[in-house]
């Protein structure tokens, strides 16, 4: 599927039979899927198109991205509505040289990412820019089993002029100009949630971003979760389930799995670590990135060891701020 879907990342939409065949091959039975980060990483192949959940510094599946970099994945096409330091790490490590998104920097607090600039301006990597809703429509069409979604933005702009994939038509009902945005069905989606059961029934609190469409659109879903709860707990409030088990292929329990980013209601971003990171890589997008990767990605023996490098103090501070969203 990889090559095929990589093309689909470029607007080469799957035929319906290809899409159905890829899904028919998946085991959708009610079964336990709990694995380790390392095992989950083997579900992603070089050259795959990888959809990334969350947005900017929120519910970023950092632990899974960290594991993919450690596993030496390469030539990934990554797609996310808004990209932060997760994109830096994917480019800087060589895991990806192609990003599909609407915004790519570390965060407005730190100006423009020198890592993104270095890779894009030197042609080492490619950044396909879509409008935020454009990315959303690509995932939504994919989630609905449709080849495209109509949309009214991007028209008239250079964002559209630069994209060969969308098609502008005259609406057969109103005669108005309408843009058709091609579906994106990633080979794999990486999504982090507050809780799910061993089957993959996921309940998300607070901001959902595009994760539901992303999960339904992808041909494979890896869930990382702050904690695994019982299926009984899920069944007591089924209207809180946002992603059904049968579109999930692996479940990994990873506390603080978004660090140094935030997980709604659990912890806010670890801005001290983020600022140190940004100072390092924006000071020197090559050497600084190598230093960061060596110390924080390749160095630690486990995700817990990575968290230890961030330090208990910052973890506790982030958790305190995270829970405070529920204070009255």
């Amino acid at each position: 599927m990889a090559a095929e879907t990589d093309k689909s990342g470029n607007g080469d939409v799957h035929s319906y039979l290809e899409l159905r065949a890829a899904l028919a091959r998946r085991d959708r039975g009610l079964r336990e899927k709990v694995v380790t980060l390392e095992d989950a990483a083997t579900l992603v192949g070089d050259g795959d198109t990888v959809g990334i959940g969350g947005s900017t510094m929120s519910r970023t599946p950092m632990a899974m991205i960290w594991a993919l970099i450690r596993a030496g994945r390469k030539d990934l096409t990554a797609a996310r509505c808004i990209v932060s330091s997760d994109g830096d790490l994917l480019f800087g490590s060589g895991a990806s040289r192609h990003m599909i998104t609407s915004w790519f920097s570390q965060g407005i607090l730190w100006g423009v990412s020198k890592v993104m600039r270095h890779h894009v301006e030197t042609g080492k990597a490619r950044y396909d820019e879509w409008s935020h809703m454009g990315v959303g429509m690509r995932f939504r069409a994919g989630a609905m089993g449709l080849p495209f979604m109509p949309m009214r933005s991007m028209l008239g702009s250079d964002v559209l002029a630069q994209r060969p994939e969308p098609k502008q038509i005259d609406c057969p009902f109103t005669g108005e100009k309408i843009l058709l945005i091609p579906a994106l069905n990633p080979d794999v989606a990486l999504i982090h949630v507050q809780r799910c059961d061993a089957y993959g029934n996921a309940q998300m609190d607070g901001l959902q971003f595009m994760d539901i469409d992303l999960a339904m659109a992808a041909n494979k879903v890896i869930l990382t979760t702050e904690r695994i709860v019982s299926n009984d707990q899920i069944r007591r409030s089924p209207d809180q389930t946002k992603i059904p088990f049968f579109c999930v292929d692996a479940v990994v329990e990873v506390p603080y799995g978004c660090a140094p980013h935030e997980c709604y209601g659990v912890y806010e971003p670890m801005l001290k670590h983020m600022s140190e990171y940004v100072a390092l890589v924006n000071g020197d997008p090559v050497g600084g990135m190598k230093a960061y990767l060596d110390k924080y990605v390749y160095g630690p023996g486990s995700w817990t060891e990575f968290l230890s490098l961030i330090g208990v103090e910052e973890l506790l501070d982030a958790a305190g701020r995270g829970r405070s969203i529920y204070d009255d």
Binding site: S58, V112, H132, G136, M154, L207, E262, Y264, G265
Partner: protein, 256 residues
Amino acid sequence: MTDARQHSAAELLTVLSARELKNGQVVFAGIGIPLLAATLAQRLDCPELTILFEGGVIGAFIEPGKLPPSTNDQRCTKRANMVLGSTEVLLLLQRGYVDIGFMGGAQIDQFGNLNSSFIGDPRKPSVRLPGTGGGNDISSLASMIVAMKHEKRRFVEHVDFVTSPGWLEGGSSRADSGLSAGGMHRVVTDLAVLGFDETTRRMKVLSLNPGVSRRAVQDNTGFELLFDHDVGMTSPPTARELDALRTLDPERLFTA
């Protein structure tokens, strides 16, 4: 008591753009000064102002001193009426529920087109900027207020790249391209408050900020400005406005 004569350019921008919002409006606000100004307006004269964030928030009340680092962080949901998907909140623009889109800008041209993608030739840019985010969607579908620093390098005749469409080439070109709703309404800068000519859609000075001359505005603009038949004088920030603002952003996160 705050000395109203002492304020930063960013504070001035925030106060002046907050004044452009009306109570009861639904405003889609970007991160930075737009978020801060919309929240300021809510605290001052627009208690029923509904603020939308692209992270998926309707009707938030940001807590003083707890400004979010982006419009996708949990702090944006504080005291919100509704939290929903990013695609869903962007679709509110397309359906028409939003009165005002409110953004910052890196580079703007005479027709109010915004560039946040490339400095220089897009095929070989001197700087690759972060990109549109929701900017293209907001400016394609809503009536816009833009707040930005007034510098010659930012106010150019033609932007290097139209990330967020204003009036495109002016006249009816925006509607002709398929964008039949919305469009650039106001540009608020540290030097002036500007609008756009109804016919040509070229940028027009509506009022000058305290102590700013027509000449000064034109000198800091890379194209020939129109001036309204009766250009007004912006009234300076009041102590009440600055007090409220500094309570919201005590660390000067967005108003340094």
